[in-house]
Symmetry: C2
Subunit: 399 residues, 2 copies
């Protein structure tokens, strides 16, 4: 097959043995780039097949959201026959992505005997081999102790499983990088991505760990302020909340002009001996500056504030609930979203891949139901006859 | 050059015109995979060159953290001579990654005239072309309204710029996918990744938007509970906090046995008419369950709790501060971290790429200072003579 621009991974086959977020997201991303991705699950489904949120009739919206555009094979992976079939699918595809660790039969060592140039990407919990999920990894790194209102002492978890998301995209990157390497050299690769290492590398890259090593002091809890810059939330007279960020001198001047506080801010700088042309000084004195700006925000409605901010260079947005977001133009007029008719779930606006390629977004495709493609994949990939597939189904090796 | 396994992008050249997080992270990730990445900055540095945290002598730890392993060229990109040189570098490399939008001279249209098979990856703020940064994009989606203690009404920002991080890894994925596509077809690609779309796609993929579209109701603020599962934080008798997650029936049984509450939990199920073999039921009745478990946690020290949890299948970790994390084994004995001697900053444990390839982690390399490689790159890539480079420096086109 010749890859086309919008589906550059056309012709690539990938087997996924997974549950939860990171590996399913990796597989979905690769499918959206054109790969044929087979998610292989135990008969009855993996631990995420009934994960909340559910529809009124008990179908998992969650599962459908992270498996769009894949094909589904269900096999009894505890039986020798089931393991053998899945091994043959992996050997045929040449790529396995998995977060099911510690299974000898689909280890790199076992599988490279069948397919020497295999690409084997395994996501684990902790770097030392221990188990971990997003919420426990996050607890162990440090972010929950600096999230939330400054007066809090207790940890605040993130709601977005940010480490799973980043880890899933790293896994997709690992697969494509290894595919390109194999194209050039003929060699496969064994890639391991501990979720904990994604979190630790990010915390290091973004200085949260490094500043303690170098300066000896750690980030404090600063509420909704942006560290090292002037960024703050404000509330309007009618209760709308805004996030406002001034990264540059121009942003900051626009903010003082908008709020009619240019002279007051100059006077404040004199009083404090501060130089507000320096971003660090704006950060150090953020509480005083916020005091000066707050009056304007609390004297105007959300509509007035939005209209006024729109005329400036200031970076801002209004805080929205998820319910508001889905009715807003960022969703309803966004070419990344297309109407998806998802069997068992219904019709909804589904996001495709968040990148446009040569001007168009690879759109979303429906998720399969468990085992939807078992017979077709065993026939197409392994050349099994309907009789052979029937016998395997009868014996309980597949479903 | 023949790519080796641990540096699969060896031989790839990339020009980066960037600031802040997403594109610098993309460039650094590609450099850690073996690419030669030239970050081109304005003379004096881009808006992130002095970003906090700083060392005592005023060097940006932040900038050093996100530009490891790159080379640095400084050019006057407002001057025709500077623009011409940078265009020639991009044409030579064949890959541009940038978040500096709206500059005609490095647009896809302008650059493909010089290099028809260019790979051009641009990260913008909002999908509609408006500006946005992580903290404003996050405000507009919905997560801050469901983060933090249930009794709060105000938004709670994340501290981790999660959208920037995901966007940066998507950008690296876009580059490698396009490189493989170009290898196969000879064609370049134009890729656009609005930061807002990374956030919206993720919120959709993870059901936060979809459940409102399908079920009509949105996620509530549930503090540190894990939605749809039993996951909760607890505090020990000596004030240590723990995150505890029971995804499976086995995890949950282990948790009741550990806390000596197996009989109490059975009695609670009878009283409530609940079936705790169902993860949704465990979630619905999480407050009652937490009440039952809390006594054991508050009667034991952090040490005792850690020792006991270690004997079970339960997913858990102790909440740590960044200062605790850097002295723990997850950093000090982790092969992803190596001692980096970073000019101007000092010696510290720096993370490499968070994936091991064939058993080893691509290690961290120092970040350059601004303009460190200007002369070498103009000489090596464009074949300029020392005299020509001297004249360009003299005229202020480069530094």
């Amino acid at each position: 097959m010749t890859p086309d621009a919008a589906r550059p991974l056309t012709g690539v086959r990938i087997v996924e043995i997974s549950s939860f977020v990171a590996v399913p997201l990796a597989g979905m991303t690769l499918a959206q780039l054109g790969a044929e991705v087979i998610r292989v699950d135990p008969i009855g489904g993996a631990a995420d097949y009934h994960r909340w949120p559910l529809t009124d009739s008990g179908e998992s919206i969650y599962w459908a959201g992270l498996n769009k555009g894949k094909r589904s094979v269900a096999a009894d992976m505890r039986s020798p026959d089931g393991q053998d079939l899945v091994q043959r699918l992996i050997a045929d595809s040449g790529v396995l992505i998995t977060n099911v660790v510690g299974r000898q039969w689909h280890s790199y060592e076992a599988l490279t005997r069948l397919r020497p140039d295999l690409i084997h990407v395994e996501i684990s919990g902790r770097a030392d081999g221990g188990t971990g999920v997003d919420y426990t990894v996050n607890a162990a790194i440090g972010f929950p102790m600096v999230t939330g209102p400054a007066e809090l002492a207790a940890p605040v978890n993130h709601v977005l499983p940010a480490w799973d998301v980043a880890c899933g995209v790293y896994a997709a990157l690992a697969v494509v990088t290894a595919l390109r390497h194999r194209d050039a050299t003929g060699h496969g690769q064994q890639i391991c991505i501990p979720l904990e290492n994604v979190a630790l590398a990010t915390a290091g890259n973004l200085s949260f760990l490094t500043e303690v090593m170098i300066n000896g002091n750690a980030r404090e809890r600063i509420g909704n302020s942006v560290y090292g810059q002037y960024g703050q939330d404000f509330t309007s007279s009618d209760g709308a909340s805004f996030m406002v960020v001034a990264l540059t001198g121009r942003h900051f001047r626009d903010l003082t002009e908008l709020t009619g506080t240019t002279k007051a801010v100059v006077a404040l700088a004199d009083t404090l001996g501060a130089d507000f042309s320096d971003e660090g000084e704006r950060y150090r004195h953020r509480e005083a500056l916020t005091g000066v700006f707050t009056e304007w925000f609390s004297a105007h409605t959300g509509e007035e504030i939005s209209a006024a901010l729109r005329q400036t260079s200031v970076l801002w947005d209004r805080y929205r609930s998820f319910a508001e977001t889905i009715t807003g133009e960022s969703v309803t007029t966004n070419p990344m979203f297309t109407t998806l008719s998802q069997p068992r779930i219904g019709e909804y606006l589904a996001p495709g891949l968040p990148m446009s390629i040569d001007g168009s977004y690879p759109p979303a495709a429906p998720a399969p139901a468990l085992g939807d493609d078992t017979a077709a994949v065993l026939g197409d990939w392994l050349g099994l006859s309907p009789e052979e597939i029937g016998a395997l189904t009868e014996s309980g090796a597949v479903a």
